[in-house]
Amino acid sequence: MNIKAFWRDIRVLKILAQAIFVIVLALAAGYLYLNVTANLARQGLTVGYGFMKNPASFGIGESFIPYDPSNTYGRALLVGLVNTLVVSTLGIVLTTIIGVLAGVARLSSNWLINRFAAAYVGLIRNTPLLLQLMFWYFGVIIQLPSVRQAIKLPGPIYLTQRGVYMVWAEGTTTFPAWRVYLILAFLSIFIIWFALRSVGKRASVPLSPWWNLAYLLIPLTIIGLGALLQPELPLKPFIPELVGLNFKGGVRLTPEFAALLFGLVVYTGAFIAEIVRAGIQAVAKGQVEAARSLGLTNGQTLRLIVFPQALRIMVPPITSQYLNLAKNSSLAIAIGYPDLFSIAGTIFNQTGAALEIIMIMMLSYLSMSLFTSLLMNIYNNRIQLVER
């Protein structure tokens, strides 16, 4: 073995290159850290999370958890986080539906449906999201009639510029006792699943799909029986009524929430539509032809042959779109929806704790995104081809 100069040894060079990269990274991080501490010290500012326990003393328009201005800044941030999570989760579910429909529609042989889907994708994908949110909010939802001239749809559902009001159920005195039946109904779903699975395994022919109705009927029977057994019905309708300046009662979808959700769903849906179209077109043509020659219908071909194969191609890019949707929800600040970014901005302005708040925001969005990726990766692994 002849002695070579180490800088000519590819093995050494590889390690060296990586080592240098890590050192440069560490130096950069160290410089940033020193810069921040030096600047803070120069201005006599301290960094710490003590302020989180102080009362927030500002109001938040809508919240899915109880909140009032005497709660702490920490609580206010939590309200923002929950608001962001709600709009993101709902958005992801709805945008998937819209995206898949539009993607399939783009491949339709029906000229009108095909062109319509193409126009939707072309228009939405090529304009900025912020502009679209402003349009939905200031151009559409706020332009609905005022509370007094609300559009009344059957139900009753009221469409107003203050939001959409709908009938909701309100618990009566017997509601607490009735909750036992709700839990029972929930548990029954698992029992049905186990029962059907074990029966299905032993049976010689696959069970009829009608058996799946059991998932719906049995829990509903339990809930219904439970309600009738009570001296008074546990729920009564909660009807929105105009009281003073605004509607009271019922359930309300605020204009800010509606505009944000709608904007995000429509925007992300256009991207998902393209991914779905690409995924379907990537499935070899022979597969469809083979399915047809076996006598499968159009729907069956799509459901049983094309989609399972297309899914493998679609899931990774769709994951990025889900992440985009969650992160884009921070644009809510422009249309007054109190999401994490908006509330964190207010807190940062009141306490001056810029560094701490930005750290919290980064960590929140990061962990949200990592968690979504994790779930999607698990799903992705499950649908990949298993090679034996």
Partner: protein, 388 residues
């Protein structure tokens, strides 16, 4: 390896956060390091500037710990640059507004020009930075702007926690609430007329806080709708999304006339919800720069009291009155004591005008009565300490 990457990034972030939380052991040596640098420069400044040495402000034997107070760096930096970088509002007519030709106009903007005039004998030696409510204090802390003249309320929290020094109050304002006449017609009405109201408000302002405090104190329920942009808040209010909008009285009056479709349909309630003394601010740590900012404003108030305007200021140069002579730098050496030319007030008055002129020029069209902003001799609060 790929699976480890999310974990790795999480570790990096966590360590960053921990670092930011401040491990005292690690941070202390850095602080000492910085203090020393500042001391060295302060001493250098003390030696270089004979006036400062004569004033006995900077003693070379000062203890290192007391060093950051000395300052002078910002003033020197401004002098070297040859212009003032002034943080202002860009979209608030009457106070800070960029017109269609790109010119900055407004009450707050004129003070920026006055500082430039006093320093460089050129009212246009200003670089304006349009700042949002959320950006403004960070821009000042980070040194991006020399001075902030952007309708900012002087509060204890901002002075103490944010590391700012506020100047003399240029405008005594108070939070008010504007309502549609169809809801409340009587300007003398109290908050209880607004039970259940939706209130539009801008985020990142003291207004948001006062709103919560006042409604809580009055025991009135309300829903805040928070926008990042003041114009968006006005637009949403105008379209009927909110029953009321709250802001400083000056903003309601000026923006209301400029933005709302029909200002006559709205009424600003007499109710004063808070004290909002609006004042320019500089970053803590340079008292000399703060002195310049403060005394130019005082000079403009004093000039109005003495009847000196931009038009007649030259005739006052021959005045026999020692008060006038000292103010305009004809006798005495007031200017040089804060590192400026002796005629710095003369320049500001000549090129920009006295306080009353600035007020008239920018706010007269909005029917904003002087009120508390009258001179103390006319029953207002504007009062300059003596120039001697």
């Amino acid at each position: 390896m790929r699976k480890l990457f999310p974990l790795f990034s999480l570790v990096v972030f966590t360590s960053l956060v921990l670092a930011a939380c401040g491990t005292p052991v690690a941070a202390t040596p850095v602080t000492v390091e910085v203090t020393r640098i500042v001391t060295a420069e302060a001493q250098a400044a003390g030696v270089a500037s004979p006036t400062a040495a004569a004033g006995g402000e900077a003693t070379p034997t000062a203890a290192p710990a007391a060093a950051p107070v000395a300052g002078g760096e910002r003033l020197q930096a401004v002098m070297d640059r040859g212009k003032v970088i002034c943080g202002a509002h860009g979209t608030f007519q009457g106070f800070g507004f960029v017109d269609s030709a790109g010119n900055w106009t407004g009450f707050d903007v004129d003070f920026c020009r006055a500082w430039a005039a006093a320093l460089f004998n050129d009212a246009n030696a200003v670089e304006f930075r349009g700042l949002s409510a959320q950006e403004r204090f960070t821009a000042l802390q980070s040194g991006e702007v020399d001075v902030l003249s952007r309708n900012s309320t002087w509060t204890f929290g901002r002075d103490g926690e944010l590391g700012l020094t506020f100047g003399p109050v240029t405008f005594y304002d108070g939070q008010a609430i504007m309502v549609k006449k169809e809801i409340v017609d009587d300007p003398a009405a109290g908050l209880d007329a607004l039970e259940g109201a939706n209130v539009c408000v801008q985020s990142g302002t003291t207004t948001e806080l006062n709103l919560a405090d006042q409604f809580r104190a009055a025991g009135v329920n309300y829903t805040p709708v928070v926008f990042e942009d003041q114009n968006a808040a006005f637009q949403a209010y105008d379209e009927g999304r909110c029953d009321a909008i709250t802001s400083d009285r000056s903003q309601l009056a000026t923006q209301g006339q400029a933005v709302l479709k029909n200002f006559a349909d709205h009424v600003i309630l007499d109710l004063v919800m808070s004290k909002e003394p609006l004042a320019p601010a500089v970053a803590q740590g340079d008292d000399k720069w703060a002195d310049v900012v403060h005394w130019v404003v005082y000079g403009m108030i004093q000039a109005e009291e003495l009847g000196i305007t931009s038009e007649n200021v030259d005739t006052f140069l021959t005045s026999e009155d020692p008060v006038v002579r000292r103010l305009l730098g004809v006798e005495g050496e007031l200017g040089s004591k804060i590192g400026l030319s002796n005629d710095f007030i003369y320049r500001a008055i000549k090129l920009v005008g006295n306080y009353g002129e600035v007020y008239e020029r920018n706010l007269a069209t909005y029917n904003l009565a002087r009120g508390q902003n009258e001179l103390w001799t006319n029953g207002g609060l504007m009062y300059a300490p003596p120039f001697r």
